[in-house]
């Protein structure tokens, strides 16, 4: 009786319910658009067209999705161990140092496929290190991770301002950013991947870190459901008292989980730094760490849910930009409202329509059972 809702078929649970939530979110968003005196159908058209209308747009959508897959996975890993890592933003930001160092060191002498692995390790290591401290503080001193990770976001932000204005900035330059990397510090685009579908990537920065994101998603699935560590993390996430009974060390799992989470967040930095700009700039994370929370919620902390959720947010980012470009009375803030509505209906109000759907399905399955019986007789 712990679960008041009867079990639904998988396609309803993972397909229909999120779809209905999404439809309602867009319905309400449409009303908001109507409220500012614009045509919601036109807005919807620009959203869809802006995200999928051309090969280039699709490239942008998937570029954003790549970023959100990393941060979504980061939040999800921590969720499984019952930890709420709000520090993805800071961890990604600091992860950028690892990427920048690898690129600045080798970009002029080595090809990208040598620099890339080093940059991956660097970003993961810096991200993990940044998450280690809050994890350790919670494990040893009981300082709550929600509080400390938020604080570490601010520290990260100040640290990066310092580094980018004093240390990593080339001499004589006026802007707070590293020098632009040579070819070895820039990731190849996935134009060939879009070309398979007959699409032209245009100027979109869709790059190989997308493939890394997919590998990371698979890795997270393996970690959570197929390794001993993942088993321990899930035990602790569901029941700390059972974990203690089973002899699992709470502090060890807390620290390791946070480091894995931080490493995933840190790897997000590869996408904008090596994949798009070819240099590290101030504020390159742009809130992706927070979007990761919504992505993880919507994707039910499962990689197979996180990827489509990340794509959805990619659509909202890319298509949203298009709306505000085409329809000036809808500002960027409106887009943020729409994103907020999606988070609200898909995450927070996730169970709102479930009872009704459950009722619907229990009646229809009853009918099916009756039919089966009469057939049998």
């Amino acid at each position: 009786m712990s679960n008041p809702y009867a079990k639904l078929p998988a396609w309803v649970e993972y397909g229909l319910v999120p779809l209905i939530n999404l439809a309602v979110a867009f319905l309400v968003a449409g009303l908001v658009v109507l409220l500012v005196g614009e045509n919601p159908f036109e807005a919807a058209y620009h959203l869809i067209n802006g995200a999928f209308g051309r090969g280039e747009y699709i490239g942008f959508t998937l570029y954003y999705a790549t970023t959100f897959i990393f941060t979504g996975l980061a939040v999800a890993v921590a969720f499984h161990a019952g930890l709420f890592n709000i520090g993805g933003e800071g961890q990604a930001y600091v992860g950028g140092i690892g990427v920048a160092l690898a690129c600045l060191w080798l970009d002029q002498t080595m090809p990208w496929f040598v620099v890339f692995p080093l940059a991956i390790i660097g970003s993961a290591a810096f991200g993990a290190a940044w998450a280690f401290l809050p994890g350790w503080l919670q494990a040893k001193r009981g300082s709550h991770i929600v509080i400390t990770t938020i604080m570490f976001n601010f520290i990260a932000s100040s640290l990066m301002v310092y580094l980018l204005t004093r240390v990593l900035k080339p001499l004589g330059s006026m802007s707070p950013q590293t020098r632009t990397f040579a070819e070895g510090g820039q990731l190849p685009k996935l134009d060939w991947l879009l070309a398979i579908f007959g699409l032209d990537i245009g100027t979109a920065p869709f790059n190989v870190s997308f493939l890394l994101a997919l590998v990371a998603a698979l890795g997270v699935w393996l970690l959570i459901w197929r390794t001993k560590l993942g088993y321990e993390m899930r035990t602790m996430g569901h029941s700390p008292s059972a974990a203690r009974y089973a002899g699992m060390s709470e502090s060890r799992i807390t620290v390791i989980t946070m480091m894995i989470s931080g490493a995933l967040a840190g790897m997000m930095a590869l996408n904008p730094i090596m994949g798009e700009q070819g240099r590290m700039q101030l504020d390159f994370v742009q809130g992706a760490g927070f979007v990761g929370i919504a992505v993880a919620l919507m994707g039910r902390s499962h990689p197979a849910g996180i990827i489509p959720a990340a794509v959805l947010f990619g659509v909202l980012y890319q298509g949203g930009a298009e709306i505000s470009f085409e329809m000036p009375s809808i500002s960027r803030d409106m887009i943020v409202i729409i994103q907020g509505l999606v988070i609200l209906f898909a995450g927070a109000l996730e169970n709102m329509f479930r009872p009704a759907i459950t009722r619907l399905f229990s009646t229809s399955s009853r009918r099916a059972a009756v039919v089966a019986q009469t057939k049998g007789a």
Partner: protein, 511 residues
């Protein structure tokens, strides 16, 4: 002529492949106490949840006072005069008694007036049914017996005429249970109708007027209590004859496996829960610890198994010391041959959200046979789990089912199977048969005795005196944290009862 308070006709309910209720018919007479018994997973809780509107039946009709009604949710049940006390209480822990009783029946947005009225009404109910409880006490500070009383008051406050109690005595001390039964008699004499689910056939014989038996989702019989017997009921439930008392031969105690010396344990508030306890546990014997719940037995088990830190004392396992006052790794204890069936299976012994097979390795997940390097060997885990399910007759036999969806007794079997099947040297068991049906009790008791006969040392804690007497080779009685006496298993119930109440013990200690 007696009228019928509740009639169920052709109730049917499936959860996916599990057919929990099959075409159930049941008539409950007004003003009677009607018992419902059946094996674990027979579908008792499901049937009552349908009556209370938690689940919807796939088909069938519910008639209350002769009227066909549809109960879509608990509110509809309450409106029809049905109240329910759940197997696991549904109270807000940090609310007061009064707030809990009012919750959901506030009548008014402005609470003040409602509170005053509720207080008066609560007082009246308390007096009428002898259900004293301080309305301003906070729930989490009340003992379980009183919490249950609040659940009953809650139902009465909503003017329930029909009261469903799902295994109400599982968590109660004998004295609390006696009080509960007096309350139920009182309610009956006022014309209320009561449905009582329990695994304890003695309770059925003592208090019910009629009893219905369920087996594997079907209603197999209804008897007038005065015309049946414990033996007949047990046989109806299980479908075969049941040994209500297991047979066991002489114990052949060997070496000391576990020795406890001067163990003292305090709880988080600093209250001494275990006070200077010493005893030895030998290979090939079962030592039972009797006592009313809350006299330190739980803390004793927790300290020995490394979950709770002791203040002072020495414990050694197979002759080697366990650092009970420092850091104990439960994993290391398992490796050294200690297995532990915790009292609280829902929070400690199991992760309810896990699949059955995942719980079957809890604590043993370091075992090489379940690992390929850092990866879990899922095939081996599932294969072993399926084997255990077959050996222990866990139902439904599905290793991938979520543990929360097993009935209480089957959850207990999952824990027992895990801890017993590894052949530990020392097995400590808390409440092995809480909420478990007679057939399974027989099975579990047999296994425990088998373990003893294989030369294992068993430490058994139970609040069921019958169980302690049936299984133990020696009985230690705990009262207020101390061991107040040791007795043979043939000591009379009265003698043990006095010790448990702290009466004899004081004399003995003084001598």
């Amino acid at each position: 002529m007696d009228s019928i308070a509740i009639e169920l006709r052709g109730i049917d309910k499936s959860f996916g492949p599990v057919h929990a209720n099959k075409n159930i018919n049941l008539k409950v007479r007004k003003g009677t106490i009607h018992g419902v018994i059946g094996e674990n997973g027979a579908g008792k809780s499901t049937l009552m949840s349908i009556l209370y509107g938690f689940y919807q039946a796939d088909s069938g009709e519910i008639h209350v006072d002769g009227k066909h009604i549809s109960i879509r949710d608990p509110n509809a049940a309450i409106a029809a005069g049905i109240g329910m006390v759940h197997q696991h209480f549904m109270l807000v822990e940090n609310f007061t008694v009064l707030e809990n009783v009012m919750l959901g029946a506030e009548e008014n947005q402005i609470l003040n007036k409602g509170i005053a009225k509720a207080r008066v009404e609560l007082k009246r109910l308390e007096r009428e049914y002898a259900l004293e409880v301080n309305p301003d006490a906070v729930i989490e500070e009340l003992p379980v017996g009183l919490q249950q009383r609040v659940e009953i008051l809650k139902a009465l406050y909503r003017r329930a005429d029909i009261l469903i109690l799902d295994e109400p005595t599982g968590v109660l001390t004998p004295a609390e249970a006696d009080h509960l039964f007096r309350v139920l008699e009182q309610l009956k004499s006022q014309g209320k109708t009561i449905i009582l689910i329990t695994h304890k056939l003695r309770e059925i014989m003592a208090i019910t007027d009629e009893v219905s038996v369920m087996r594997r989702g079907e209603m197999v019989a209804t008897r007038t209590t005065a015309e049946t017997s414990v033996e007949e009921l047990a046989e109806l439930m299980v479908g075969r004859r049941v040994l209500l008392r297991v047979e066991k031969g002489e114990a052949k105690p060997g070496d000391v496996r576990l020795s406890v010396d001067g163990l003292t344990v305090k709880d988080s508030r600093g209250v001494t829960m275990v006070d200077n306890v010493s005893f030895n546990l030998r290979a090939g014997e079962i030592v039972g610890i009797a006592g009313v719940a809350g006299n330190g037995q739980s803390e004793l088990l927790e300290a020995i198994s490394g979950i709770r830190r002791a203040v002072s004392g020495n414990v050694s396992l197979n002759g080697k010391a366990i650092d009970v006052t420092g850091h104990v790794d439960p994993k290391a204890l398992r490796d050294r041959g200690l297995a532990h069936v915790p009292e609280d299976r829902h929070h400690v012994g199991l992760v309810l959200k896990f699949e059955e097979c995942e719980n079957a390795i809890l604590g043993y997940h370091h075992d090489k046979r379940y690992l390929n390097g850092v990866f879990l060997n899922v095939d081996a885990i599932r294969r072993d789990a399926e084997q255990r399910i077959a050996e222990y007759d866990i139902r439904p036999p599905n290793a991938r089912l979520k543990t929360a969806n097993f009935s209480g007794g089957n959850q207990q079997k999952i824990v027992l199977a895990r801890e017993m099947e590894r052949g530990p040297d020392v097995l400590i068991i808390g409440q092995p048969t809480r909420g478990v049906d007679v057939g399974a009790i027989e099975f579990i008791h047999k296994r425990i005795i088998e373990m003893r006969d294989q030369g294992k040392a068993v430490l058994l804690v139970s609040v069921e005196l019958d169980e302690i007497r049936a299984l133990s080779d020696r009985i230690l009685v705990m009262f207020a944290g101390r061991v107040v006496g040791e007795r043979d298993p043939d000591a009379t119930e009265g003698e043990l009862g006095l010790l448990m109440a702290g009466v004899e013990g004081r004399k003995e200690a003084a001598e």
